[in-house]
Subunit: 377 residues, 2 copies
C-alpha cells in the first residue's frame, strides 16, 4: 500500500490523498460503509460500487465467530467469500470484545472473553488477531487494542494505552513474520489511544509513530465524549502523526463530525450511522435528516432529496418508501440504506473535490448551515 497527497487545503488541515491497495485505489477523504458480517446490510456489492463505494469495512470479531476462520480460509478469503473485489479493511475485534462480551479478562498476553453467540471462552492475542486477518485477507488490518470507555480514570487510560502500544509492537512483529495467503498485499495500521488526555494521547501517538505503521487509526473517540473534546484530540493528533500516512478516525460519525474531522486532517471514516439509522427510517438529505416513517410523508411524491442524483432519488418517492416502511416491507429498509450510503459517499467525495479546488471551509460552512437548519427530530 502507498499513500500520496493530491492536495492540501490552504486554510485548514484538510487534505486529499490517494491510497493504493492491490484491490484498487481509494481517493481520500473516504467513508467506508460497514459490512460487519461480510455484508453491508441488505445491499449487494455491485450496488455499493454504483454508489461510488471505494472501500468497505468488516469485523474480525464477528467473522471469527461466524462463519469462522475455517470457512473464510476455504472460501479463499473474504473478497471471494462475499464477492467484493474492492479494497476492504478489518478492525481487530478489540472494540467488540469490550462492547459485546460480558465476561472478559485482559492480561499482557491478550484478552480472554466469552462469545456472545454460544458462550464459549475465546482468547484473542495481538498475534492470533493478525493470523485471523491474514485468513480474512483484508487489505488493511488493525492490531488488537484496548479501547477504554469515556470517562475513565487517567491511571487506567495510561496503563491501557501502554498495553495497546506493546500489543501494537507485537502485532507488527507478527505481521513481518507471516505472509499473505491470497497473493495480495496486506497492510497494518497502528491505533492510537489515550482517551481525551492530551499528554497520554501525545505519548501513545508518538510511540506508535516511531513504530512506523502504514497508517494510523485514531481510536477511543466517539465513545460518548463531547464533540469538542474529540476535535481537540484530532488537532493534537494532527501535529504528531506522520503527515504522509493515512489517518482513520474509527467509528465516526455524523456528517458534521466527519467534516469537522476532515478539517482536522483525518482521511478515513467508518460508521454504522447510515446503515443503522436507515433501518429505523432515518434518511439523510442536504437539508438535514428526516424520518420516512412519519405520516407527513404519506403523500409526499418527491424524492428523499430533490435534485440529489442517486439511484434512490431518481427512482422512488418518499411516499412509496414510507409505505414500504409502514407495512414492514424489507425493500423499504434497503432503499433507505442505499440512499444513506450514497449520501455519505457524496459527502466525503464532495469534501475531497472542495479540498482540491481550495474551497473546503466555505463549502463546509455552507453545507452545515443548510444541513443543521433543516434537521428534523
Amino acid at each position: 500500500m502507498n499513500f500520496t497527497f493530491t492536495s492540501k487545503d490552504p486554510e485548514t488541515a484538510a487534505r486529499s490523498g490517494l491510497l493504493r491497495t492491490d484491490h484498487g485505489e481509494i481517493h481520500t477523504p473516504v467513508f467506508m460503509p460497514v459490512g460487519t458480517r461480510a455484508s453491508v446490510k441488505s445491499v449487494e456489492p455491485e450496488e455499493l460500487k454504483k454508489q461510488d463505494t471505494q472501500i468497505i469495512l468488516a469485523n474480525t470479531y464477528h467473522l471469527y465467530l461466524r462463519p469462522g476462520n475455517d470457512i473464510i480460509a476455504k472460501a479463499g478469503g473474504i473478497h471471494s467469500f462475499m464477492n467484493w473485489d474492492g479494497p476492504l479493511l478489518t478492525d481487530s475485534g478489540g472494540y467488540q470484545v469490550y462492547s459485546l462480551s460480558e465476561l472478559r479478562s485482559i492480561s499482557e498476553a491478550g484478552v480472554r472473553f466469552k462469545s456472545h453467540i454460544d458462550g464459549s471462552m475465546l482468547f484473542f492475542t495481538p498475534e492470533n488477531v493478525i493470523d485471523t486477518q491474514r485468513i480474512i485477507g483484508s487489505d488493511i488490518m488493525m492490531p488488537l487494542d484496548e479501547c477504554p470507555p469515556w470517562p475513565a480514570e487517567k491511571s487506567y487510560v495510561k496503563e491501557s494505552g501502554d498495553l495497546t502500544v506493546r500489543w501494537a509492537e507485537r502485532a507488527k512483529k507478527h505481521l513481518a513474520a507471516t505472509q499473505p495467503h491470497y497473493g495480495h498485499n496486506q497492510t497494518l495500521f497502528g491505533i492510537t489511544q489515550g482517551g481525551t488526555y492530551a499528554d497520554l494521547r501525545t505519548q501513545i501517538s508518538k510511540q506508535l509513530a516511531d513504530l512506523d505503521f502504514d497508517g494510523y487509526s485514531i481510536g477511543g473517540l466517539a465513545v460518548g465524549e463531547p464533540a469538542e473534546e474529540m476535535y481537540r484530540i484530532l488537532e493534537l493528533s494532527h501535529t504528531i502523526l506522520p503527515e504522509n500516512k493515512p489517518r482513520y478516525l474509527m467509528g465516526v460519525g455524523t456528517p458534521e463530525n466527519i467534516l469537522n474531522a476532515i478539517e482536522r486532517g483525518v482521511d478515513m471514516f467508518d460508521c454504522v450511522i447510515p446503515t443503522r439509522e436507515a433501518r429505523n427510517g432515518r434518511v439523510y438529505t442536504r437539508n438535514g435528516h428526516i424520518n420516512l416513517r412519519s405520516a407527513r410523508f404519506a403523500d409526499d411524491f418527491t424524492a428523499i432529496d430533490e435534485g440529489f442524483d442517486n439511484h434512490v432519488c431518481r427512482n422512488y418517492t418518499k411516499a412509496y418508501i414510507r409505505h414500504l416502511l409502514n407495512v414492514g416491507e424489507i425493500l423499504g429498509l434497503k432503499l433507505c440504506t442505499l440512499h444513506n450510503i450514497s449520501f455519505f459517499m457524496w459527502l466525503t467525495r464532495t469534501a475531497r473535490e472542495q479540498i482540491i479546488r481550495g474551497g473546503f471551509r466555505e463549502w463546509k460552512d455552507d453545507f452545515l448551515k443548510t444541513f443543521n437548519a433543516g434537521q428534523q427530530p
Copy 2:
C-alpha cells in the same frame, strides 16, 4: 389488450401466446411474481426486469387498506407509485377477505368484513372493487368473487358460484360504465369457480364464457384439494373456456403443478412460493429444492444451481448465502428471493420455448424426473 397464439403443442393442450398490454407484451406461459403490497419482497423493479419478469401481481385488498386509494390516486396509479413500468395484474381482494378477515358477511350486494389491520368495518362490492382497480391502474383486473374452501358442500359451492357469476356480470357492466384514470387500457378477466364439482365448474365456466371476458381466471383451486383433482378440473376447463382467451390459474404453484397445468392449457400463474419459501431459505434448482439454512452448505462454495445462468448463481456461493441466513443478514433473504424468481421465470420461459419447438412433453418429463429425484426435505 389482445391475445394471440404463437403455437400449440401437438401432443398436449399446452400453448404459447402473446398478450399485449399498454405496458408491454407478455409471452405466455408466464409466471407472475407476487408484489402484494406494491413490492415483490426485497427486490427492486429493475432487478425483476433483469430476471426476465414480464408482469407482476399486486393485491387489491392489501393496497386498499394500505396505503389506500387516496395515496395511490395521488401517485398517479401503482406503476408510478412503485416505479414498475411493465404490465401489472391485480386480484380482486375477494380471496383475502375470506382468508384474512375473521368477520365477514356475504350478501347479494357484496361482502362486509373487518380490516385485519385496524378492525374497521369495510364493504367490497363488485362495483367498488372495479373502482379501486381503476385507481390502482392495473393492466389486468379481477372481478370480486367468492372462493369456497375445499372441501365444501355442493349446495354451498353452487350458491356461491351463482353469486360469483352475478357479481362478474355486475363487474363487467361497471367496467363499461367507467374509464381508465391514467390513459392506459385496463382489461377484466372472469373468474371461474365451482370447486372440484365438474358439473358446477362446467356451468359457471360456460356462463362466464358467454359474458365474453378478455381472459379467464380459474379460481377456487390450489386450496387444499389433491393435485389430481385440480388437473381434472383444468382438463375440463380447457374444453369449455374460449381457446382464444388467456387462462390464468390463480395461486399456483410448485414447478410440477405449473408444468402440469401448462400441459392442460393454462397460460398464466402467480404464487407466493418463490418469494415466501426464499424467506425460509428454500431455493429451487433443476435438481429439486434445497434449504440453504442447512449446515451441510456451510462450506459448499458452489452456486445454488451450478451452471444455471442467473445473477445469484454467477455471483454468490451456497456457503456465503448460508452464512447470511445463519447470522440473520437481510441480504440472504433477498438473494434467495431473487434466485427463486429467476428460477420460476426460467421454468415458464423454457416451457414456452419447448412448446414452440414441439418438445414440451418430453422436456417436462425429463425436467420433473431430475427435479423430483433431487428433492430435499
